[in-house]
Symmetry: C2
Subunit: 217 residues, 2 copies
């Protein structure tokens, strides 16, 4: 309204809007299809216009990873036990991966000790402050759980991409006993079972069986 003349800024543009458009390109056609040119084309602006909002492609990727990780439920709930909170986050991470299978490789590749992923770890840590989990135990729990979850999501993402290829084809190739077995290894049941393995292992090894009632065993 108040702004006069031709050089009107792109008011609909922002770092967040650019990251969102970038993510949708990845969701549709994969990470390799996200170029500064394709992104600018989708937003209807010149390529160089993007550089007024984002320093370079790497930091755009960082924005997208951050956006993906904020989709994961890490709300604290002191009513829950630590393993219940962990399960909730794990299932939410799985839902995010199912929503963005082609983008998950970016999350897996992001350095774990830098802002986007580190902030996520911090949020997870905050879930456990009111659950009588000592800080050093949390590190043990999370490092094992995070490793398992990251590895699982990589496999899940691949399986989903095989099942429903992108516009630009990536189709499946072979299938035998073991590969079929490993494909089933990313089902929801298998995920729940794997999560149980990790949590039971953590309870036995790290948490000293504090959850067991006296008459167990």
């Amino acid at each position: 309204m108040s702004r006069a003349g031709r050089p009107r800024v792109h008011e609909h543009l922002s770092r967040a809007a650019i990251a969102e458009a970038g993510l949708s390109i990845i969701d549709e056609d994969g990470v390799e299809a996200l170029t500064m040119r394709s992104l600018a084309g989708r937003l209807g602006v010149g390529t160089m216009t993007l550089y007024r909002y984002v320093p370079d492609r790497d930091s755009l990727i960082k924005d997208i990873v951050e956006s993906l990780l904020t989709e994961v439920d890490t709300n604290a709930d002191s009513q829950e036990t630590w393993d219940q909170s962990l399960r909730r986050t794990a299932y939410s991470l799985r839902a995010m991966t199912l929503r963005h299978p082609r983008a998950f490789e970016l999350v897996a590749a992001a350095p774990v000790s830098e802002p986007p992923v580190l902030d996520y770890a911090r949020r997870v840590a905050l879930m456990h402050v009111d659950q009588s989990v000592p800080d050093e135990d949390f590190v043990k729990i999370w490092s094992v759980a995070d490793a398992y979850l990251t590895g699982f999501m990589i496999m899940l993402a691949h399986a989903v991409m095989r099942a429903r290829p992108a516009a630009t084809g990536e189709g499946p190739e072979d299938a035998d006993d073991l590969s079929a077995g490993l494909a089933g290894a990313v089902s929801e049941e298998a995920f729940g079972a794997g999560l149980n393995v990790v949590i039971e292992g953590l309870q036995a090894t790290v948490m000293g069986d504090s959850k067991r009632s006296p008459n167990d065993c």
Copy 2:
């Protein structure tokens, strides 16, 4: 000797030799430094000469992943219990990751149900045929263990690259309590502890405690 004229073939060249040279470029300067041009330069041949041995860059990458996975000890030993064999493979995988931290991302990104990684899974499966592990239990064991190991190695690889940056700098940036804690989460002890968590969880959940002696508990 017997070959006459100028157009002598590059007898030192082969798919394997090209993959080896490619891996050494990655080890030194990272995956992004491996280009068909840089690789040809290192081998002292024209760029296009590589295409007489390798169809394209993607299959070169596949060759490198295959080479990395054959470095991992998957020799069968029917004297061992299943968890001992699993530990041996796990530690060997860790050693490979320490040797090639900059290359591990390729292993993590390789599709689990296609030749290089699938063959590796097959070799691991063969380790357990004489260890009275039912086939369906093996799939449960390996899918959890593989997910954990892949996730752990990604973190380890990142930690090593932070500690000793490439020729082309990648240096560390910040460090506080949690990030320091997570850094310690990739130590050899932490790896052993994490592996114990997974194996104990598997014994309790999948293997039905068959390893426990009667007077336990």
